[in-house]
């Protein structure tokens, strides 16, 4: 009897004491197309906020421009819906000035890997404690079906109607190539349990956690992830206690690799493999220096500052 009570408690952790519920984080009604993968990401994020009981006013979602970047409007936290490609510098400024805030960054594939590519690489290197979500539908959604860097080669779009010219850029391989990157993961919005577990691991990681979320766009690229959605055998889960474990998915995704996220060489090899889609934490290293820690300064009161400035003027006195 006492055992079952205890189990019950584990299954529903402190539900009664919870201050915030899913609805606490609900903002405006989401206006994405029906069937858009962004809806599942929003739900998973709201679930994460609830589970972690993040204080809404201590939480900031920063985004760029694109369908996916509407994200902050649909949450009841602080939000900054900025300009195309430049969410990460804004996030950097927020975190640098107010390290106590929980800062999330939401970007589309055009946002992050094309116009914002420089910021993406450098944000990974700064390694501030940010949770960074790339909602990768392999297409420019908002501007209506133009080729993005992650569009599969050959896919017909409005700017490359004979088929996209170039092999798609691999955001995982790029991220894993950045010195001082500390967390690189991939998940898919159509696998909600995996999505949630990955977001949680990303949030809990201290440092910039970069999560590429494979995301369906039913309007412009229904074919892109169709095969993977219908045939779970195309997916391989990377499991590890230091990464994510999703026992509830064992039956659907039977092919799994025990991958130690500390192993960068294997992480890079797995990221490059194009025979299967690998979901899970590719790389994680909590020991990497974090920029906001490196740059920490002792705050000074106005009076302290002014008396130090007097000393400074002494150096320049005539």
């Amino acid at each position: 009897m006492s055992l079952s009570c205890h189990l019950l408690h584990v299954l529903q952790p402190e539900e009664a004491d919870n201050q915030y519920e899913m609805t606490s984080y609900e903002g405006a009604q989401a206006r994405w197309c029906p069937g858009c993968g962004d809806h599942s990401v929003l739900t998973a994020v709201q679930k994460l906020l609830t589970a972690e009981q993040l204080i809404p006013e201590q939480t900031v979602f920063v985004s760029g421009i694109g369908c996916s970047s509407r994200f902050p409007h649909y949450l009841k936290t602080y939000g900054f819906h900025g300009i195309h490609g430049r969410a990460l510098p804004v996030s950097t400024g927020v975190k640098l000035h107010r390290p106590e805030l929980n800062v999330f960054t939401v970007m589309g594939d055009g946002d992050c890997t094309s116009i914002g590519a420089a910021h993406w690489i450098h944000a990974l290197r700064y390694n501030l404690d940010l949770t960074v979500l790339l909602l990768d539908n392999g297409i420019y959604g908002l501007t209506k079906k133009q080729t993005s860097p992650t569009t599969p080669q050959g896919l017909k779009t409005n700017t490359q109607p004979k088929g996209s010219f170039l092999p798609a850029l691999n955001p995982l391989a790029v991220s894993l190539g950045v010195t001082n990157a500390s967390f690189v993961a991939q998940t898919a919005e159509w696998a909600p349990a995996h999505l949630y577990a990955t977001l949680r691991a990303a949030y809990r990681h201290k440092g910039t956690s970069f999560v590429r979320i494979l995301q369906r766009c039913p309007v412009f690229t229904p074919e892109v992830f169709q095969a993977a959605v219908q045939d779970p055998a195309r997916i391989v889960l990377l499991v590890h206690d230091d990464g994510v474990v999703t026992p509830e998915l064992n039956r659907i995704y039977s092919s799994q690799i025990h991958h130690d996220p500390g192993d960068i060489a294997t992480a890079r090899r797995l990221a490059e493999a194009d025979d299967h889609i690998h979901l899970g934490v590719f790389f994680r290293d909590q020991s990497r220096p974090r920029y906001e820690e490196t740059r920490k300064v002792t705050p000074r009161s106005p009076n302290e500052r002014m008396s130090r400035l007097e000393e400074e003027f002494d150096r320049y006195a005539v």
Partner: protein
Amino acid sequence: MIDATATAASPSASTPPSVLRVPEHTVEIVSDSGEGAQKCGQIFAAVSAKMGNGVWTVEIIPAEVQPPPRVPEGASGNRVRVGSGPVTNWGDQTNLVVAFNEQVLLSRHRVGGLAEDAILLIEEMWATSDDPAVVAQWDAAMEELSSKSYRIIRVPMQEQCLTLVDNPRKGKNMFALGVLARIYGRDMDRIRDQIGHAFRKKSEAVYTTNVSLLELGYHWAEQHIDFRIDIPLEPMDTPLVVMNGNEAIGMGAVAAGFEICAMYPITPATSVSHYLSEVFERFGGIVHQSEDEIAAAGVAIGASYAGKVALTITSGPGLALKTEFLGLAIMTETPLVLVDVQRGGPSTGLPTKVEQSDLLAALYGQPGDAPHVVIAPATIEECFHVMVTARRIAETFRTVVMVLSDANLATGVSPFPRPTLDARWQAAPIDLAPVAEGDKPYDWDLETGLSRRIVPGQPAGMFTLTGLSHDEGSKVAYSSGIHQKSSAMRSRKLAVLQSLLAPPPVHGDEEGELLVVGWGSTKGAIEEAVDRTRAEGLKVSSVHLRFLSPLEPGLKAIFARFRQVVAVEINYSDDPDDPFINEENRRRGQLAMLLRSATLVDIDSWTRVPGEPLRPASIAETIRQRVHSGGAA
């Protein structure tokens, strides 16, 4: 200016030297880079200021980091204008040069900055070099210099310094300083003090050697230079500090309570961040060097959004990159201070040289209707104070404030009264009080457009700001009514700010024949030109604008009291006499364009882009021409 009876240096002057009493003198010290002429010039200027002379110093900088030795383009050093009273600008021509070789001297001759009768003190070792090519260069240079009536004095710097040190390449500068100290009667104890500041931290031995070289130069000049130059001292009671405009901006940023300066290196703005990088952390601030200027703007906006107003510093090309982010800050009413230390443009332009050609880009560079504040400090002192003003305006009006400085202020060094600091200049602590029920992120006061900012961490303030057109509640709104209203609210703030400003003071009489209007670093030169021409009896005055957006009030009324108004600036304008140029297509200077559209007064334009500050003499010349031609040109 120099007494014509002064004779060439004689080996030993037994008669007392002639003393030339002058109200001002401009001195240059030039060498190959790495030979220390700049240090010599800096100490000479600092000591002159400490003794009670007015001083304005500009750096002479080679374009390359390490140019080859003995080439005119490699000239490196300082140009110091020393006067009895305060000196507000770099002046006209150089009266005395100390050059470490004839090639760097040639470069100064060729830019045309030397007075017809300038005194040139030149290291003579090259005349007798073992290398015939060097001797040939020397001879050619002397030939070229003989086109003017310069007075050339050969100085055996190398030979003299070798009596004390093995490698005079490091040390000639102190010898030269000693020569100048003797000629200008500078206080040797103060010079030794300055040398102490500069070298004691290296080692006592370095200090002692430098002082010996200084004294060697002094004694050499005592025996071999038959004149002295006396610029009467007018010591001031007020304590002074001496620095360049970029240091003043850095200190101003500290005084204003900024905590984040995000930047990407670009000349001539970078030295602000060099200064801040050195000291800012002691004040609880950080300099963040971003991956590019776009990111720097983004980081500053993110920080401002999350708390205290942040700062980003750049120059023309960087301003161009920041454009889209500036629009975002204006649209989301996120305060931001941007400093643009202007250089010559467009494109990479003249990276190290002064120009005032970013005005219209600063005012109108953002697509869409993007009202914001633009201010320009006119003096090095104002570079300090403007930072406090800018931060306050940005915070109060929830907008972008651009501060336009330029390379002239950035590298000019001049003393100014030590500011009396006030802790209230500092930013208030971040207020995390709960947001009241019903409060919105843009609770515009319908009359003023002002609203209170909500900052992350404030309970019940969870809104999403957006660069999309939005209503008071930050709800995305495409209806024409809301866009009309929010545009009005953002724009109204400028009118409100203008209502708080006073009309600018007129320098000279309140009415007259000609009014010169300027902005930014040209103030000193313009007012000096006005003073000179007024002394000749011309009815000329000037007005200097600090606010470019909004403009200071009352301009139209001031303009109406003068028969002609001319805007004088360092940017390009067409000369009305040039081919194809007529009244309809004539491009005027940027301030002239702005003022014409704001006042409908037929304001004329006189501008130059010489890659150097305007000289009072050339402004005075244009004043004379205009007054004598007697009508709008």
